[in-house]
């Protein structure tokens, strides 16, 4: 009896020890290798919040003609561009509106569109353009000659592919064609030059759009190298513009803009014919301009069939 008890106890102990060793010994059944797991190598993760892609965003960019000391918001609008972003399609369009366009200004009868801001500030200009185009403008952004110059200096200048030679003593432009970095004053000269261009203000408006495309291109390039540059751009913009874009939306707009490929940005100017009204030179927008407005109001983009010829086509060789 004693012997059996001893044997049983020894067997039990051996079984416990053996079992324990058996399941824990090296070389036992390994765990299944699950994925995912980053093996040695490169990997990238990224996320940027963008605005809801369910509808296009329209922003009115205004260049005030105010001189230092003048009321920026109630001066003639020197340049007018509608910029749309279609977040879903990652595309955009820029539509320049000639500043001498003869239009109805709500509450003020017919007049040049640039005088709309004199009568009622950016808000009335927005109302005038909405009435003219049928496009609902979400935001407006207003800058000045000096604000524009400072803004571009704050970002270190803008790389622009100057498409043709420009030499104009009025604006100060003095460029040979080719890619070059324009500091603030040069960029302003590029944006203001109309005397070098065969179609005058129409061509000038297209060049304004060209700068916006160049800015988008550079913004994306800088962001891809150093995302924190977004803060520099946002700050440079906000320091030098007046706008009704809420601060938090500025950031989301900036992220949304990053999703737009500059190659897919249409840059056009509303077509018109020149005429005279009471001794003033004016632009009468054509029916094609109305077609473009209608087209753009839908998804923010302009169909190829509705694209007007470039006002600088003769200089571009087109």
């Amino acid at each position: 009896m004693r012997r059996r008890t001893v044997l049983a106890a020894v067997a039990l102990a051996a079984w416990i020890a053996g079992s324990t060793l058996g399941i824990s010994a090296p070389g036992g059944t390994p765990r299944a290798s699950a994925q995912p797991f980053l093996e040695i190598g490169q990997a990238h993760a990224g996320f940027a919040p963008t605005l809801d892609g369910s509808r296009p965003i329209f922003i009115l960019f205004i260049g005030s003609g105010a001189r230092p000391g003048e009321d920026v918001e109630h001066s003639l609008a020197d340049s007018i561009h509608i910029v749309s972003i279609n977040p879903a399609k990652h595309r955009s369009a820029i539509l320049g509106i000639p500043r001498d366009s003869w239009v109805d200004i709500p509450g003020h009868g017919s007049s040049k569109i640039n005088s709309s801001m004199v009568y009622g500030g950016p808000q009335l200009l927005v109302q005038t353009i909405e009435s003219l185009t049928g496009i609902h403008l979400d935001y407006w952004v207003l800058t000045t000659f000096w604000g524009f110059t400072t803004m571009l200096n704050n970002i270190g200048g803008l790389t622009v592919d100057v498409p043709f030679a420009m030499h104009d003593s009025y604006s100060g432009s003095d460029f040979e064609p080719g890619v070059q970095v324009l500091k603030g004053p040069d960029a302003l000269a590029f944006a203001r030059d109309r005397h070098s261009l065969p179609e005058g203000d129409f061509g000038r408006s297209e060049d304004g759009g060209r700068l916006i495309v160049a800015a988008l291109q550079q913004f994306r390039k800088e962001y891809s190298k150093d995302p924190s540059r977004l803060l520099t751009w946002v700050a440079a913009g906000l320091r030098n513009v007046q706008t009704n874009v809420p601060f938090d939306q500025v950031l989301e707009l900036a992220f949304t803009a990053l999703s737009v490929n500059p190659k897919y940005v249409e840059n056009v100017v509303a077509p018109g014919t020149t005429g005279m009204v009471g001794g003033s030179s004016v632009v009468n927008l054509t029916s094609q301009a109305q077609t473009i407005f209608h087209d753009m109001a839908g998804d923010g983009l302009i169909a190829k069939k509705n694209l007007p010829p470039s006002p600088n086509a003769s200089l571009l060789g087109g």
């Binding site: 004693r2 106890a9 020890a17 980053l38 993760a45 996320f47």
Partner: protein, 249 residues
């Protein structure tokens, strides 16, 4: 001088009166000590071997050589803080405010990298539940989808025995809004740690990136990010390899 007292036969302790003369002492009560000692020793031996060897197969050993659950000490080292303003004021006026934000942002980033790469209880199981609340609602889903890059990975426990020697640098840019309140920050981070693989080789785990953070109810949380991993093999380092006690810098 040691006195040996020999007890011969009979009970060692006084028997209760009731037992006396009525029952003979049971033979089982006189089992030889070996009957108890040998099984007990074997059980103890088995237990010791279990605890020692279990560590080598991914368990948690109690002696050196097996993984443990110690989280390596780690803090990002702030290298630069920069306030960015949207008013005409001098940015340097906001240095202290930016420094305060940098401290808070660094806390978030230290927590994120500790949970994502250093806490063995996370990477052994491949679950990183404490990482995701550091991302805001808008970015959380994307972060989870990018979990392989943003963390050590779901099956890191199959590959690594240890992760230690963490090092991290952080630069923080702080954007102040029109009311001069900190509204957004970008954390530019470089993190590395030494992974000791089960096959005895070493991997330098490297994560560099930029995180956009906004203040919220529970501190600064991530709402956008661009992160790159560039892990690579490395040679055995001098000193205690992959030691969890490796100093952070």
């Amino acid at each position: 001088m040691t006195r040996v007292v020999v007890v011969r036969g009979g009970p060692r302790y006084p028997s209760r009166g009731l037992s006396e003369g009525r029952h003979r002492p049971s033979p089982q009560r006189r089992l030889p000590p070996a009957v108890l000692i040998v099984p007990a020793a074997l059980v103890a031996l088995g237990l010791v071997l279990f605890l020692v060897l279990r560590g080598g197969s991914g368990g948690r050993g109690i002696f050196g050589g097996g993984p443990d659950d110690t989280i390596p000490a780690f803090d990002f080292r702030i290298t630069k803080t920069q306030p960015i303003v949207v008013t005409d004021k001098e940015p340097s006026q906001f240095d202290s405010s930016a420094a305060q934000v940098a401290d808070e942002v660094t806390k978030t980033m230290t927590a994120l990298y500790t949970e994502a790469f250093l806490d063995p209880s996370n990477w052994r199981d491949g679950t990183y539940d404490n990482v995701w609340p550091l991302f805001d609602e808008g970015s959380r889903t994307s972060a989870q989808q990018d979990g392989t890059t943003l963390t050590l990975g779901a099956s890191a426990g199959d590959t690594y025995d240890k992760v230690g020697r963490p090092k991290g640098k952080i630069a923080v840019k702080v954007l102040l809004d029109r009311e001069e309140k900190p509204s957004m920050a970008v954390a530019i981070v470089k993190f590395s740690a030494l992974g000791t693989r089960k096959d005895g080789t070493y991997t330098e785990i490297v994560s560099t990136g930029q995180f956009f953070l906004r203040p919220g109810g529970s501190g600064w949380t991530v709402y956008a990010f661009q992160v790159r991993r560039s892990d690579h093999e490395t040679t055995p380092p001098p000193g205690p390899s992959g030691s969890p006690s490796g100093a952070s810098s």
